[in-house]
Symmetry: C2
Subunit: 106 residues, 2 copies
């Protein structure tokens, strides 16, 4: 019931790396790690809401028709049906805490 984001944080050379921190029927909480240039392509969840919280680095976040660069301590919400994606166009690694509710895998 206790976790450390530092221990779950992990990067991959080929694509954005996603590791789960917590998951129940009601939600999943992941850490997403982006090397410079890596992205999460815009997509939609039907019936789930998703929150991004930037832990370190900077990323370009798209939600619906809006796009904003967010840094540490900044957040984005994509509600059910809203297109959303992330792009690390910076030269630094980007770490994002992610909540999706309810859990799309359950």
């Amino acid at each position: 019931m206790f976790k450390s984001l530092a221990e779950a944080k992990q990067f991959a050379a080929d694509k954005m790396k996603k590791n789960m921190l917590f998951g129940t029927d009601r939600f999943v909480c992941d850490v997403y790690c982006f090397e410079p240039g890596q992205t999460q392509a815009p997509h939609t969840h039907d019936g789930q809401d998703k929150v991004y919280y930037v832990v370190e680095g900077r990323g370009l976040f798209q939600v619906g028709n809006e796009e904003k660069e967010l840094g540490a301590g900044e957040m984005a919400l994509a509600t059910s049906g809203q297109n959303h994606g992330v792009s690390n166009r910076s030269q630094q690694q980007l770490v994002v805490l992610v909540f999706i509710t309810p859990n799309p895998s359950h």
Copy 2:
């Protein structure tokens, strides 16, 4: 759909201050701010899961019969029915990002 935790962060002299960042039927995301000595008394949510993510400072987190001191980047999960609470026994301010799902106010 974009928020800054720094803008929502707010302390109160009399008790732990809770400000909402995002909320839908599916979840609520708050920031909890504790001055030294302030606490969130142990309590239980029936039918909701709750995640704490420590943004700054250190706090003593209780979940069920376990208790652990957590610092920045550390997390706790209290699932439905599990008793949970937070105590800032440090000399620094404590800031915690909190997700509860589904939203207990809806």
